[in-house]
Symmetry: C2
């Protein structure tokens, strides 16, 4: 089924940059009719190339531009321990991403807060309240050089 041609790839690139392009605008860029663009996008959605459309909010404007990365080691690596940890972590809204990773540490999480002082509170009151955690190591973002949502095709 369905291998993407250059037009599809171009479309995905454009929609990843700006999901508000109209079919008319896209039609102009890709030298096709709005209908052709429309049908292609619908197909990309049906086939799950496009998962969803979202608004990106400015973290600075809502006082969530202090970013920390925390590497986490679990005490044990049983199925139960992993499942418990992952479901607890999902309940903490400050944690915006969580990856189970290879290496010395088991998890890498990304945390968005307003400032450093909140990080202390986050660690003491939330993260380390989770059982299963053995130890952690944190790194703070000094500067976000870039952080794309788009995957170039």
């Amino acid at each position: 089924m369905a291998t993407l041609d250059q037009t599809d790839k171009h479309l995905l690139n454009l929609l990843q940059e700006n999901a508000r392009f109209t079919t008319k605008q896209l039609a102009l860029k890709l030298s096709l009719s709005p209908t052709a663009i429309y049908e292609r996008i619908k197909k990309l959605e049906r086939q799950n190339y496009i998962n969803r459309y979202v608004a990106l909010v400015n973290p600075r404007k809502i006082q969530k531009d202090f970013v920390a990365f925390v590497m986490i080691q679990l005490k044990e690596h049983t199925q139960a321990s992993i499942a418990a940890f992952e479901s607890e972590i999902a309940l903490i809204p400050e944690i915006v991403a969580c990856f189970h990773v290879s290496g010395t540490y088991d998890y890498l999480i990304k945390v968005n807060l307003d400032e450093m002082s909140s990080f202390r509170n986050f660690m003491v009151e939330k993260l380390t309240k989770i059982p299963h955690i053995s130890n952690t190591q944190s790194a703070f973002s000094i500067k976000e050089v870039f952080n794309h949502t788009a995957l170039k095709l």
Copy 2:
């Protein structure tokens, strides 16, 4: 200027989950008129609470669901070295995120590839071809537990 009320926050939450909600749908959810919703969204855009709207593409479907995190140490930390490194890194499309961080390592980058074998190629042919790098440490994503674009208000 402009402090967000509960309606604004609710709106931002909804649009971060699904940017395709129509003003009519949002009006129903928030018990307002479509015009009121429309004006509020336009204001949030004008005031840069909303940066942009994007389509999220399924990494698995486009063979970019192998994820690695690489911590990078620079040889020197001069302004010139930092600037050079950051501009070089920005040219490598596999690197989807780059943060200047505190700690032993200077940078944390996220890389999206198709599979492990490509990672070797990425390291040998691309990343370590960049001068200024002293050493690196990599961790591979075993599982993406979650990775939100939304910041809860």
